[in-house]
Every structure is written in C-alpha cells, then in structure tokens.
Assembly symmetry: C2
Amino acid sequence: MIVGGVAAGMTAASRARRQDPDAQVVVFERGEWISYGACGLPYVLGGAVKDFDALVARTPAQMRARGVGIRLGHEVTGIDATAATVTVHERASGRTLTEPYDRLLLATGVAALRPDWAQSDLSGVHLLREIPDGQAIEATLKGARRACVVGAGYIGIEMAEALRARGLSVVLMEKAPEVAGRMLDPDYQRLVRAELERRGVDVRCNTDVVRLTGRDGRVTGVQTEHGLVRADVVIVAVGVRPRTELAGGAGVRLGKSGAVAVNARQETSVPGIFSAGDNTECIHRVTRRKVHIPLALSANRMGRIAGVNMAGGDARFPGVVGTGIFKVFELGAARTGLTQTDADSLGLDAVSVDVKSTDHAGYYRGAQPIHVRLTGERGSGRLLGAQLVGCGDSVKRVDVVAALLHRRASVLDLFEADLAYAPPFSGVWDVLLVAADRLSREL
Amino acid sequence: MIVGGVAAGMTAASRARRQDPDAQVVVFERGEWISYGACGLPYVLGGAVKDFDALVARTPAQMRARGVGIRLGHEVTGIDATAATVTVHERASGRTLTEPYDRLLLATGVAALRPDWAQSDLSGVHLLREIPDGQAIEATLKGARRACVVGAGYIGIEMAEALRARGLSVVLMEKAPEVAGRMLDPDYQRLVRAELERRGVDVRCNTDVVRLTGRDGRVTGVQTEHGLVRADVVIVAVGVRPRTELAGGAGVRLGKSGAVAVNARQETSVPGIFSAGDNTECIHRVTRRKVHIPLALSANRMGRIAGVNMAGGDARFPGVVGTGIFKVFELGAARTGLTQTDADSLGLDAVSVDVKSTDHAGYYRGAQPIHVRLTGERGSGRLLGAQLVGCGDSVKRVDVVAALLHRRASVLDLFEADLAYAPPFSGVWDVLLVAADRLSREL
C-alpha cells in the first residue's frame, strides 16, 4: 500500500510490481493527478511546456494496466500500525474506509509553506506545488498585469521567469539578503540576481512582507516594511515542509531535519512502514549527515528502493551529494556538494577558487561566459563541491563533480580527468580542469 | 631546450619557467607560428572562428616577455645525445648551428599522412595540420565549387562541415565501411553519417582513391575504383603519424604504437631527453596499455609534466581514458573509454546497452534526441566506456563517464551518482543514469 501517487509513490508502485509480479499494489492519492513532473509546473505557466497534461508520465489507466491499483481522491487520514490498517477518506462518497496493508509506503511529499500574512481569502494569491495550483494560477493570469513573487528560491526564480515570459511585470521579493540563498555562495547569488534584473525582474531582497492588500475579494498588493507593491497575482514560494502528519500519528520517528527518518532500505522506525520521497531524510555522502533535500531525482530513487524492498527485494539508497540546478532566463545555475558557506558552517577547513572562462573555446563563435567555484578541503585535498553559473546547458558539467563526489574523490582526481575537448565544446583545459588546477595549489 | 612550439612544447616552456624562474628555456620551432590551437583550423575555414590569428594563445613576444627564448624558422635536424647538443638549421640564413642542452624535450607532434596517390604537384591538394596548411586551403577556396575530402576521421568530418558552410558541394570519401571508424561503434558511426548526409555531404564509404586527375597543374578530380569525382579542392585527411625521426636518430626508444616511449615523468630511454605531446605514447587507464592518441588535452598535459620535471620538479602523467569529441553540423559525437569494438578486440567480456532519450525533459520545449551507448564488463561490473551522439552540447556529458573511468568506477557508481535535474537540462533520470540502470541488469 502506497500513500501518495506522484514521484516516489508511483516509482515504488512500478518497481514493486516488477520485483514481484504477484504483488498486490494499491496507491491512495488524495488528488486527481498521479505520476507527473511537478518541476515542470513553472514551465507550463511560462509556455515552454504545452499544457499540464504533458507533465504526466503515466496515466491512471496505464498504471492500472500494469496491475497497480490507483485510488484517486482518497486521502489516508490515519495509520494503525498495530493493526496494520489505514483509515481512508474517500472524497467522492464522503465515506471513511479502513484498509489493511502488509507493507505501507509513506510518499506524502512536501507542502508549500503558507506564512501568516498569506492566510488570506483574497483571490489571486497562490502557492505552487501541485497541478491544481498551476491550474489556479493559469486562471488568475488572464487579464493580470502585475505579479509579485514572494521567495527567491529556485521555484520563485522559475516563476519570475515564467511570468515575465507571459508579459507581466514582476517583482521578486526575498527576506534574505540575496536570491537563491541556500543554493549558492553570495557571489554566485549575485550572478543570478543580475540575470533576473537584466531580464526585467524587479528584485527586492531584505524585504519582509507585512500583509496583503485587497479589494472586492481580490488581491491588489503586497505591503512591505518599505512600502506597497501593487500586484494582481501573488505567488507565495517561501519554502516547503515535509508532510509528516501521518508518520507522526503512527509513531514513526522523524529526524532532526523534521523529515521522516529511514535506514538505507527506506524502512522507518515502525516495522512494515517505509517512507520515500520529499517527506523523507537521506544521507549526504559528503558530510555523512542526514539531510532533507526534497528533489525529484532522489524522490524517484528512494521510491525505487522502497518498491524493491517492499516486494521482497533488497536495495539500498546510496545517498545524495546535494546536487541542484535551475534555469534563470538565459543562464543556468548549478551546485553540488558543499558551498563555501556550507563548509564553513560545518567547521571544515575549506577553500574555494573562482574561475571565469568561456563555455567553449574563446575563439569559437558564440562563446559565453561561465563562472565556476570549486571548493576543497585543506590537508586532505578532498573535493567538497562546485557551483556553476553560465549560459544554457554549460552548467550541466556540474555532473562531473557530482559523480566524483559520489566516489569521494580528490581535487587532483578532477584535475587529472581526461575530459572531452574540441573547440565547439570547451577550452583545451575544460573550465573544471582549470578550477581544479587552481584549487589544488591552495590545498 | 624544447623542439616544437605548439601545444606540448609551449606548455612545457611556460611550466619550466614557473617551476624554476631561473631556468633558461629556448624553443626551436621550424615554422613561423607557435602556441596555437590546431584543432580550430577547420573552424577558421568554415567561418566559426574569425581568422587564423584568433587561434594563437600566446605570441612569440608574450612568450619572450615570460623569459622563454623563441627561435622561429629553426629546424632541429639532429641530436647528439652523448655530447648533449642538437644541430639546428636556421632557415633565414641557411646556417647550421650546434646548440648544447641540459635537458631536451621532443615535442615534434604528428605529421599528416600523404598516401602515394597524393604525392602530386597539382595545386588544390591539401593536408591540414598546421596554420600554413589552413592558409593554403583558404587561398585555394576562392572560386572553388567542388570539394572532395578523403578520409572520414574527425578532421575529415570537420572539414566536410566547414566546406559546406562555405557553400561548396562536398564529397566525403572513406576507405572503411563507415565514417568515424576508430572513434565509435558501427551504429554510432551511422548516426554521424546520417547527419552528414542530411546536411548535404555526399558520403562515399568503402571507396579507395586510385589517383588524382588534373589539368594545367590544378587538380580536377579524384579517380576511385567506382568512377571519377570531380573536385577543385582535395583535402587529404587519412590520418597522422608521430614525428619520431629526431627521436629515432638519437637512439630514443619508440613504443609498439610507433610513438616515443616515455615513463610517467615523460622521460625517454635516453637520459636528459624528454618527450611530450602528439609524438608520444601514454598509458590508457582502462586497458593499462600504452597507446598513441594524439589529442590536444593530453598533449598539453604531457607538456606540463615535462616542463615541471625538466626544471627540477616531480610530476607524473596520470594517463588517459580515451576521451574524444567532435561536432558534425548540428550534432556532437563523443566517446570515452572503450567502444564495444575496442573491448572485443582486447578479449574483454564486455556488454553494451543503447538508450535513445532526449537531452532534456521530453515535455520541455526544444527537446532533441540523444543516443547513449554504455559499455561495461561482465562479472566485475566495471564501467568500460560510453559513446554519445546528440544535439549540440548535450554530448559533453561524456565527461561524467570519463571522470568515473579515471577512478576505475563501476556501472553501479554511475547509476548511483546524484546528477543534476531540472526540466530544461535533463530528464529526472539523466540519460546516463538510464543507460547505467539498463547496463547494470546485463552484467
């Protein structure tokens, strides 16, 4: 039995059936959509994705054809771990059911945070987490001219871009001193902000929302300490929290991060109950600490592990290295491992170097700047992390560092790697090699 | 003393001065150009690089300002290893000099092969290796309408693209059954050929040249077993050989590959004589055999190692993993490690899987196909290699596999890597992860 039908839940369902073709698998999803790429929501709104349906990887009919029971509009409201049953609210009928399970997977994901000031009945105020949120924003956008996005994490940044693409004026508001706060070091945050501003986004950092203003039940603006920002649409993107109510109610242990604690088999502290996806902690291979980093790849990977194990197999989650990437207009920003800020806060003796180069040979047509910060540990020479900001796909080379971090490699290992060179693709010494060379001299 | 002033030679010169600021460094270059990116030559001719000067990384004046003596038009014609002197022909004066050295670096590179049929005085017939070759081709192109490129390795392929970009009709001729023979497995060779043909290149494989035809001293065509191909310009790109005449004359040992044999410090069999760059063998980390793979990054890297060691330091060449990449019109093609063909010829128990996916999320605007073949070793689970053909920069992800091969990683290590995902950059499971997953089930 699986609670939640998006990334981790649906992957687990498919995997469980593959592991044991006789397994009875049922998925309870409180909403009406399953198996979709929530990461694509800003791009539907911005026009880079045709429509919401395009985000769906597998329909309920396709999943049923694979032998997976799909129960839409069914919200699991309680777990009796002793009896091994769940209580389910069936929205259509209003009935409450009690259903037994042999093994239970919590794949409840995260909820978008709604701060006090956003506890409002005004229309035009939206969170963005699920497809119905996206549909509501789409409906609001008709006739809207001014948008305010509150929160400049990657979702806020992606939404700012999407709304500009729709022709709205956009104010992007952030409480912290810079955008992309937890993703990047300050210099790299500034590169992201510069791109936002270059594309016409009015970025206001160090700005707290006091309250929303409205008229006739519709939002008209965002009142800050520094004045009023008029807006027809307000997107609230100030963060997420793991949905752990069910887990907590069942006596499942939560970790320090606030997400569900699991072992490498995705087993919780309660026998028979597994947890996977954005509601769940995992191990960070660089720090060897438990972290809560809700991202699609680890959600899918955890779901896969859980599905195998629930159906009698034995798979282990290998951990993450903190890789993330986002697009901001013409630029990409990516990071993996630890930033200098992360390393400092962990008390590591870390040092970073910055290289500004071009994505391919400087003499070849269309060369664009790329910025790379590489971080390593003094003494050990260990590679700790990388941050990249540059044009388009060029920042996907973050994966080279991510793969090496997974293997606990040194800065020297990166420098010695035989990376691909031809003038349309990189300099003779790829920018990662240049950075590793400089960093190795600092360690 | 350094013989040869391009990639390895100039890198060695700079490094030697950095290692020991008091070192006297002199470079003998038989030509008039130093420190340039020969890999950029097809792109100057095709128009993606402004001019030949743009390929120059450092001018003689810049190198002299760094304290490196640069002697252009000086061809070293002999080495007396016992006396530790070289004989130098100074072109301008016609004089022959004898110059002593403490340590000597052979950085003589490769020569383009000129088959018997190309031993011709006809104008319009060109090799492409150095800037003067490029200039000669540029001069020939004025008024030319039909080109024939003989040899479909990466230089031939790049030249076919360049000449199409200049508006010529292009026949690309290859003796072997397919293009890009040694780079890729047959299926991937065919993808490259399909792109060439799609862009109007007339590709003729299994075709041997019999002789050239000419009139009034100018080439008019290429006679093959299958008929005559008319051409105003013929580019001969059938391969290269290491320039080892000097080494051989000095009693320096050559390896089985025909290139100069060295240890990891770039020392040859003769004390005091080093060798680096395209004329030199190196170790392949996957096969642990000595190979001759003349490419710019390893040439520069060997030059760096040699420069450090010649000036009293201690650096070691880490070896290559056989990474290569080239552009073919809108596509890139890349490989690292071993192809299935390579692995079979080495008697390894290797297996490959092919994945066709998209460079980024399929639902996101502009998704383009990408083909990945991943090769691993049965039993050990070791990663052996990857081949990629896909749009533009997407194939640069070959570097992820290259970095892991450097660390002798397994297919599982690749599958478990925490690669970056957002819809504009990849699928949730990057195509490399999808390939690693499938391959791990075959091992």
